[in-house]
Symmetry: C2
């Protein structure tokens, strides 16, 4: 923050150079590695759940209070969490390369306020993004954010159009919200990547189907027509007054055959359909209409392993929490807001597309 | 759904015409009115909390499972909730006019898939939006959504550029997500409208300050410079190594003087500042760093009535829930995701601007 600090840091750099010591930081909570059962964070977190996603963050947050949130509010775990701090030695390109080759890392989520060696970062990222999903939130994308970034890490954020170009060329999937750092990590930890962008969703409300169809369009998700056999099955479980299609209005079937029956059979019908890459049920949960045993979703996820299932809700919040507690430890992610599973699916789809892009 | 249904509906219209009966619907859960202690919804909701916001919705959702969510997951109440259904008689323009003159309605939130009489709707809305906030989600904004809307309410959604023009001319604030129907209602129920778009926010993390500053820019919120006296006070409660500014990095002050002291004094400093129209604290809640008594926020809200305070969190989810249960019944809204209070503030600001627009 002042000339004395800068002087101390210059001295530190000189000592490192003379002694060939590698350094992360300073000005960071350091790194956490669940495979190595190691952490340098000063924040008392207790046991940190092991997982497959690794975070690189130009902030101490991830190994401290954001991790606290993940441990108390979510059910997924992490592999490596690296706080970059002032980056006087180790910087994002080197760590990205390391994680690209790390068998403990299945996907990488970054928060950066600056890129120390843009050319090197681009070269490394171009390779890593072919084998692993790489998602990035860039802080300081606007003048207001740049101003705040100078106060935070003294990062001189580059012109965002240049950063945007670099991210695209690198095959990195860009996100825009802090909350999406957590949601992307959750999706990448718990779900297979979808084969394509074709989604089927089931909701207890026509209005939700309409609004979510609009959302799919904005997120680059396609709502495919279903096979004749799929439509036949959906029609079979529904009263005759409704003509079934994708997206799926599941409530008539629920009133006819019960909530569990309708969602189970409806989800299975669309999961079987070769035109569908992912399925999002908006579960209707109120005591009055009947609470399903949630195991049927776990069973479906096991039988249709290659298709992501993302769960959201309408109705009574108590049962939403109960469903989350029941199925997330068994590997099915839930999302309290109905837009979130679509946002996450879009991120996963973009990761898959980046990985498969032509050379 | 078929010719028989159309025939029955034509018959109904003929009978209504002969007998001068007014009708809402058909194909709706009807309407709920807490001031009149009346509801026609078939959905068992128990006691519905009374509030100041009224909903007009071209879907039965609002008086059924979305209301269930509001009653179990939120602490605000509603005044009138009107489901439009097929709109064979009463339609949105007439209701909007009624609610515009309704002393029990402080703000109006709409969900529409079509506008039956666009010219009439525009004329009515132009007046109502000068005295009350009016927020609208339009389903069927995209081709995918239009397709789903035909299946839902047989609504032939108009070209969205025309709808967008009408909304702007009418002084209505447009939103894009289903979840924002609930969040807008929450904000409009619990908060005063801000005088302007100038926000101060306090977070326990530099990265959050950066990302949220970017978000402010995208949402049309300004992050003003603070008065010298405000900066002096913020500096006084903080260790000397940090230079305080807006947005406010509150964590150094918390480590020096405790979490409650830092947020309380920091919030009061910025609430006092004449350059600040609204304040958003991101509370850091973990047992290890100390859980504040949340009453100080209620006290500040009472003493600075004209400035909206919107609360969000970082840290342990258990305490976030505890804070929500403590302060929401006392009138302070909380939001589980850090982007949400900014989104809501932006909606409130746009409402204020629309109400004050020149004739």
């Amino acid at each position: 923050v002042d000339e004395l600090g800068a002087e101390i840091q210059r001295e530190l750099i000189a000592i490192l150079g003379e002694n060939k010591i590698r350094v992360l930081g300073p000005n960071t909570s350091g790194h956490t590695s669940t495979p190595a059962q190691f952490t340098s964070t000063f924040f008392p977190l207790g046991r940190i759940r092991r997982g497959t996603v690794s975070y690189i963050a130009q902030t101490g947050n991830f190994a401290t209070h954001t991790m606290k949130y993940i441990l108390t509010g979510e059910h997924f775990g992490v592999s490596r969490v690296i706080g970059l701090g002032n980056k006087i030695d180790i910087e994002e390109s080197e760590i990205l390369e390391y994680l690209g080759n790390d068998p403990e890392t299945g996907a990488i989520v970054l928060y950066l306020e600056s890129i120390k060696y843009p050319r090197r970062f681009l070269d490394v990222a171009k390779e890593v993004t072919r084998s692993k999903p790489v998602v990035l939130l860039k802080g300081g994308a606007t003048d207001a954010g740049k101003h705040a970034a100078i106060a935070h890490t003294a990062a001189m954020a580059a012109e965002d159009r240049l950063v945007g170009g670099l991210i695209r060329q690198a095959g990195i999937v860009r996100i825009w919200d802090y909350t999406h750092l957590i949601l992307a990590g959750k999706g990448l930890s718990m779900l297979p990547l979808p084969r394509g962008n074709r989604v089927s969703f089931l909701a207890p409300s026509g209005a939700m189907l309409v609004v979510l169809a609009d959302l799919c369009y904005r997120l680059g998700l396609d709502i495919p027509r279903l096979e004749t056999e799929t439509l036949r099955r959906l029609q079979e479980i529904s009263p005759s007054f409704i003509r079934m299609r994708n997206p799926v209005d599941i409530w008539p079937a629920a009133t006819a055959g019960g909530v569990e029956f309708a969602y189970k059979e409806g989800m299975e019908a669309v999961l079987k359909d070769p035109n569908v890459d992912a399925v999002i049920p908006i579960l209707m949960l109120t005591k009055e209409t009947g609470i399903p045993r949630f195991d049927f979703i776990v069973d479906l996820a096991k039988r249709y392993k290659e298709k992501p299932i993302l769960v959201s809700f309408s109705g009574d919040r108590t049962y939403m929490e109960e469903c989350k507690r029941c199925i997330e430890p068994q590997g099915i992610p839930t999302f309290p807001e109905i837009e979130q599973p679509f946002e996450v699916l879009s991120i996963l789809h973009r990761c898959r597309k980046a990985m498969a892009r032509p050379r």
